[in-house]
């Protein structure tokens, strides 16, 4: 077939390429509402939050020279209940250092929530206004951030943590950050 003939196949080829590209949007598990974080590789925003249960204040200065995870949660958040066994397991096995930020919540409700589902956090800050969450780029709880030893955000997960996320993302991340 001469190239003059082949040129008539061009639209078909273009259509096939487009169809393959667009079919990715139909893949199971693809969620177009999941957004990449604009905060990756930026320094964690500064904050200074009241502690829950009259504990010491939680500030970003607490994150020094270790890899920490910051989990935004709320007692009114249903997926937070779903992820709580995963967080409890991580914290019990000392896999990660986990701080909690209680997002737009009543402290009494948060305490009840922690009594019921367990408290996996080293310390908890109360983000009553939601401003700290906005500075992190949070758009819904739960969200979890990893901050490296230099205070930079290296990872973010939207939605509840699952065993799969731990296995496929958190453990490799720890290895990567620990090695560097």
């Amino acid at each position: 077939m001469s190239w003059r003939r082949a040129i008539y196949l061009l639209p078909l080829a273009a259509f096939a390429a487009l169809a393959i590209y667009l079919s990715h949007g139909l893949a199971p598990g693809y969620n177009p509402e999941l957004l990449p974080s604009a905060m990756i590789d930026k320094p964690a925003p500064a904050f200074d939050l009241a502690g829950l249960k009259g504990e010491a204040r939680l500030t970003n200065r607490a994150f020094t020279d270790e890899i920490v995870f910051v989990n935004f949660f709320a007692s009114w958040c249903v997926p937070c209940r779903q992820e709580s066994p995963v967080l409890m397991d991580l914290s019990r096995r000392n896999v990660i250092v986990l701080y909690g930020i209680d997002y737009k919540d009543k402290p009494a409700d948060a305490e009840k929530f922690l009594q019921q589902y367990g408290d996996p956090y080293r310390r908890i800050g109360v983000d009553d206004s939601g401003r700290t969450a906005i500075n992190f780029g949070v758009y819904g709880v739960p969200e979890t951030y990893a901050i490296d030893r230099t205070g930079h955000i290296r990872w973010r997960h939207v939605g509840p943590l699952t065993d799969d996320v731990v296995k496929n993302e958190i453990l490799p991340l720890l290895q990567r950050l620990g090695a560097s």
Partner: protein
Amino acid sequence: MIRALIAAAILLGAMPAALAVEPSEMLPNPALEARAEAIGKQLRCLVCQNESIEDSGADLAHDLRVIIRERLKAGDNDGQVVKYVTDRYGAFVLLKPPVEPATYLLWFSPFAILILGAAGAWFYLRRRPAPPDEPLDLDQRRQLERLLLDDQ
């Protein structure tokens, strides 16, 4: 009376800023409020992703509306306010995507396709043999005259 006024003033001052602006409660300065609304209409609500934060009833949209008004009152220009939000949430929050290398395909592919189509059409039409330009023979000329007469 004076004591009551002082007490009221102290109470007002002590009210947390978080209570400030509901969508119905606008900035007293109409020029500033108009700017705030114009900015809010350009920004996507992260919760209901096809609404602007000016339209959305989501809590986060409310917070961002308040922040926009705070930034404007603090003297930021429109670009700085938009940057404040995109710094945290990325270019995705802009309802009109910016023209930058990552969005060239989005912005320019319609024109590229138009140009390709026009080029294809031009080549096709140029190569098509022109219709024969022979004079009509006698029969055809008579037929034509008849048709023209019928028409009148």
